[in-house]
């Protein structure tokens, strides 16, 4: 019984991967048979070779680490501050009255508009990117934490209170756990946004990082290497989202079991 099921799973995975393989073959063919100019689309095999070279020379690794540090630091800050703000807004009505209009005002602002300002404030280095990612990612996390904490079950809050739980205990044991699913969803949005803001700001002004490397290689005409970096960033964004989804499911399962 087990073998056919495993086989079926492998077949489904293969069938799902096939369109992507076809796309890669189409790319290679289009470049090799010069259906399009080789400078606009270098063959995929050249791109892979350029990627291996850049890994070997360490160029991709150092720039990649610079980018990941910026994204990680900005995102970590925004998670801490955003979650605290969102839960505080749901917990104290005056805080909500004070901050909710600001959140509503800044929520629709296209965050990329902040790129030149963060450069004016903190220069071309890491600081301006971290600030940009922090500011851009904070709002979706705040909204997620706020909506989650606000929806915490009134009955639970009341019964905890009637059993004599202190306000601090209630915050930790009732409100924070019930805010978790929406908070985790907000962080997922923020994760995607962090990649967008990271690459945009590095493309526009930077001296290191993935975006800088893409711009530099493009300006030098090393298009195969440029494609290699573009695909690396795209893959990392995809992989980060998948890993985060697994983490999110694990967290939520763990929460189900704990309660």
């Amino acid at each position: 019984m087990m073998v056919p099921r495993a086989q079926a799973r492998v077949m489904t995975a293969l069938s799902r991967a096939l369109p992507l393989v076809l796309l890669a073959l189409l790319w290679e063919a289009a470049a090799r048979f010069e259906w399009v100019s080789a400078s606009a689309l270098p063959p995929l095999s050249d791109v892979v070779r350029a990627w291996v070279d850049m890994i070997a020379s360490g160029e991709l690794v150092t720039n990649g680490l610079a980018s990941l540090w910026r994204a990680g630091a900005g995102l970590a800050l925004s998670i801490v501050v955003g979650a605290a703000l969102g839960i505080a807004m749901a917990w104290w009505r005056p805080v909500n009255a004070l901050l909710n209009p600001l959140v509503e005002l800044f929520y629709p602002v296209p965050k990329s508009a902040l790129i030149p300002v963060t450069v004016i404030w903190l220069g071309f280095g890491d600081g301006s990117k971290i600030l940009l990612i922090f500011l851009g990612c904070m709002i979706p996390i705040t909204i997620g934490a706020y909506n989650g904490a606000r929806s915490s079950d009134r009955a639970l809050v009341w019964s905890a209170r009637s059993m004599g739980a202190s306000r601090a205990r209630m915050l930790l044991d009732v409100v924070v756990p019930s805010a978790l699913p929406e908070l985790l969803n907000g962080i997922r949005t923020a994760l995607a946004l962090a990649f967008i803001l990271l690459v945009s700001s590095e493309l526009i002004v930077a001296r290191a990082g993935f975006g800088y490397l893409i711009g530099f290689l493009g300006a030098n005409g090393s298009y195969d290497a440029m494609y290699a970096v573009v695909l690396t960033v795209a893959f990392l964004g995809f992989a980060a989202d998948r890993l985060y989804q697994m983490f999110m499911n694990w967290m939520l399962q763990w929460r189900e079991q704990a309660t």
Binding site: S15, R16, A17, L18, P19, L20, L23, S39, A40, P94, A97, L98, L99, N100, P101, L102, E104, L105, F106, Y107, P108, V109, P110, K111, S112, A113, L114, I115, P116, V117, V119, I120, W121, N147, A192, F195, I196, L198, V199, S200, L203, I204, F210, G211, I214, G215, G218, Y223, M226, Y227, V229, V230, V233, A234, F235, G237, F238, A240, D241, R242
Partner: protein, 269 residues
């Protein structure tokens, strides 16, 4: 006896909350002006709000503001419209045809979480620096949430609705237009509400990167000449455009779904 007193207390209470609600925004604006004028920071780092508003007024009088705003809106909205139409058509095709679904489903689910903005230099390489390139970049980024939402929306339509329509003799086309699409509309609109801010973010980045007219381009050239009032004016202008578009989209949603139970619920944003 205590009724007038109660009403007065309630009015006072409401006025207090209203004051608190506006306090955040007022404090932000006043704080900006005071901090900039206090001399603690240079005018370059933080130009006073009054100077920024003066700059916006100047741009409005010279007409530059309207040209830049118009171009940014044109690129963002044309890109958004193409992504919306294309995304809905592709989503419908994927949910009706097995082969289309087989081909596109992996591409969409791998492509959605990717930071497509990294492809901006590739788009420049292929299409140049003008509107075609900018709008293509917007479409490439904004189409994914629309396709995904359409597929999920159509998949979630209750079978009973479709069966009863079929039983009453509706053709395939009628079922699609009169049953499936309206029932999937809330999901599709959610997808469009995700796509619209993305379209704006990408338009601004593309303008910053490629230069030329447009709000993003104007901000970049102000920043290159170290005119920080121009940079802050750009933020204010882009913020207003974003606010109006996103709120407008929420309004359209409420209109389009007036028949739907969702419209009865209080909305959050």
């Amino acid at each position: 006896m205590s009724a007038p007193h109660d009403r007065a207390a309630r009015l006072l209470n409401a006025a207090g909350w209203l004051a608190l609600r506006s306090a955040g925004i007022v404090a932000l604006l006043v704080g900006w002006e005071v901090a900039a004028k206090s001399g603690a920071v240079t005018t370059f780092v933080l130009p006073p709000l009054s100077l920024v508003l003066e700059r916006i007024w100047g741009d409005a009088v010279s007409g530059e503001l309207w040209l830049n705003t118009g171009l940014t809106l044109y690129r963002a909205l044309v890109g958004f419209a193409i992504a919306a139409l294309g995304g809905i058509v592709l989503g419908v095709a994927m949910s009706r045809n097995v082969a289309v679904n087989w081909l596109f489903d992996p591409i969409i689910s791998v492509g959605f979480p990717m930071p497509k903005i990294a492809f901006l230099p590739v788009v420049i390489l292929w299409l140049g620096l003008y509107d075609v390139a900018k709008i293509s970049m917007v479409v490439l980024d904004a189409i994914f949430p629309v396709v995904t939402a359409t597929v999920i929306g159509i998949r979630g339509v209750e079978r009973e609705l479709i069966w009863s329509a079929r039983n009453m003799g509706a053709s395939n086309r009628e079922v699609m237009w009169q049953v499936v699409l309206p029932a999937a509309l809330p999901q599709i609109l959610t997808g469009l509400q995700v796509a619209l801010p993305i379209a704006l973010i990408v338009t601004i980045v593309a303008e910053m990167m490629m230069g030329g007219y447009g709000l993003g381009g104007a901000m970049m050239s102000a920043s290159r000449f170290a005119q920080s009032p121009g940079v802050f004016a750009g933020i204010v202008e882009i913020a207003v455009v974003g606010f109006v578009l996103v709120k407008g989209m929420a309004l359209i949603r409420r209109r389009a779904l007036a028949w739907h139970p969702e419209a009865m619920e209080p909305s959050t944003v």
